[in-house]
């Protein structure tokens, strides 16, 4: 039963690659946005907040279709990126990563924002009186103290990216070896006769990966907390 076929391996590795890239690219952005939402007042803040949460409430198919319209080869952004940077999203694994990144962004930002809000601003003031410029305060006080939240956001985002299905299949379709992730592979397998065993294997694998991510994040969070507050 546990003979994972090359096609299945391809889907598993692709899923891991898509989710990892999506999380790594989204994290710095998520930290920036989380900080903005936690610490700054500006015009359009409510709008930004709503826009970030939109993928959470929109049907994933809608998000995927909007991505296709915007980042497709004929989309405004997609055409520009393809012409100027050679970056193509449509029907590529990079598009899957983009879809996963956008779908998981609200889940990634939320813990980061909350943990930055929880950092004592009086410590940031103390840092300023010791000569730290605002960016130094952020890097040496705010970010280290918010680290457990950043890690939690990364794990949540990774888990969501790993399981993303609707927006991804709408935007980049279900091409084995290019855009077929575990989710879309399972979907394809249960549509085919005799695909049950293969589908089951992928189900087990995705459960294992998710469990490992959760256990790993718990371990990281505990270590980070210990490091922050002394053992």
């Amino acid at each position: 039963m546990f003979d994972i076929s090359p096609t299945e391996w391809t889907a598993i590795l692709l899923s891991l690659r898509v989710a990892t890239v999506a999380t790594l690219v989204a994290t710095p952005l998520g930290v920036a946005v989380g900080w903005l939402l936690a610490r700054r007042e500006f015009w359009g803040k409510a709008l930004l907040d709503a826009a970030i949460h939109l993928p959470l409430v929109l049907p994933p198919v809608v998000t995927g279709y909007l991505l296709l319209l915007t980042f497709g080869r004929r989309g405004v952004v997609g055409a520009w990126l393809a012409d100027h940077l050679g970056l193509v999203f449509a029907f590529r694994w990079t598009g899957a990563a983009l879809a996963c990144g956008i779908m998981s962004f609200p889940l990634l930002v939320r813990p980061i924002r909350l943990s930055i809000e929880a950092v004592d601003r009086r410590l940031e003031q103390a840092a300023a009186t010791l000569g730290a410029a605002p960016w130094q305060v952020f890097l040496t006080v705010t970010l280290p103290l918010a680290l457990p939240g950043v890690l939690a956001g990364m794990v949540l985002g990774f888990a969501k990216a790993l399981g993303e299905f609707g927006a991804t299949i709408t935007f980049v379709s279900n091409i084995p070896g290019e855009t077929q992730t575990i989710s879309s592979a399972i979907y394809a397998l249960i549509q085919t006769p005799d695909g049950d065993a293969a589908a089951m294997r992928l189900v087990v694998v995705s459960v294992l990966i998710s469990m490992a991510a959760l256990v790993g994040s718990e371990w990281f969070a505990r270590r980070a907390l210990k490091r922050l507050h002394g053992s």
Binding site: L123, L130, A132
Partner: protein
């Protein structure tokens, strides 16, 4: 020399204070809620005055008429808060070294030794702030401010959160600091005996205003205690 002439509205409360000092330690004396902390937050650059001037050694830090406002991190003014505010993710050594790193100052072993000996914190270097007593925490906060090599040191009720016994533990360090560190200080307190022991000049603050300025004789007579 420090010159302060500012006004600031904070809700219903208004601060309108003016004083200049030459002495080593200027005391700001007044009941809690009199506006002392807001006043030194303005000196530190953490709070911006609505109107007025703050200058130190001839350098203008705030001047609302020319819209000048030097950011807190560029003022080189040390601040010891009532609640220490040590960084919980750094050990004592990291806390003490923070100001030097942020200001990109060269390592100064002589200064480091002098400050850690002056405050008796040499044995605490590897500990986390969470493992320190209240008095130790306040001594580390003092050392941290001193090692950032400020030109003025602000102390906001540094003994305020300590019990009587701990106060007696810290006070001698403050006296040594005054006599040996050679950095002018602004010392905020509502305790006349601390004022008597430390301050060379005292500004009495009442409801946001300086009502008297001078030597220890300006302290209210009814509160005299030895």
């Amino acid at each position: 020399m420090l010159r302060v002439d500012v006004s600031k509205r904070l809700g219903e409360f208004a601060i309108e204070a003016s004083f200049a000092n030459e002495g080593r330690v200027t005391g700001l004396f007044g009941a809690s809620g009199a506006g002392k902390t807001s006043l030194i937050n303005m000196i530190a650059g953490l709070l911006r005055p609505d109107r007025g001037v703050i200058a130190i050694d001839g350098e203008t830090l705030d001047d609302t008429s020319t819209r000048r406002h030097v950011a807190a991190h560029r003022r080189r003014i040390g601040y010891v808060f009532q609640d220490a505010r040590l960084f919980p993710h750094l050990d004592v050594r990291g806390n003490l070294d923070y100001g030097r790193r942020m200001n990109r100052l060269a390592e100064d072993g002589v200064l480091w030794r002098r400050v850690t000996e002056l405050l008796d914190i040499g044995d605490l270097l590897d500990r986390r702030p969470g493992k320190l007593s209240g008095g130790e925490r306040q001594r580390v906060a003092l050392g941290r401010a001193l090692l950032s090599q400020p030109r003025l040191l602000l102390l906001d009720e540094p003994l305020g959160s300590l019990d009587e016994e701990r106060k007696e533990e810290i006070l001698p360090y403050l006296v040594r600091l005054r006599d040996e560190a050679g950095i002018p200080m602004v010392y905020v307190s509502h305790d006349p005996s601390e004022m008597r022991q430390l301050a060379s000049q005292i500004a009495i603050i009442r409801r946001g205003r300086v009502t008297a300025f001078g030597g220890v004789e300006v302290l209210p007579a009814t509160l005299v205690q030895v």
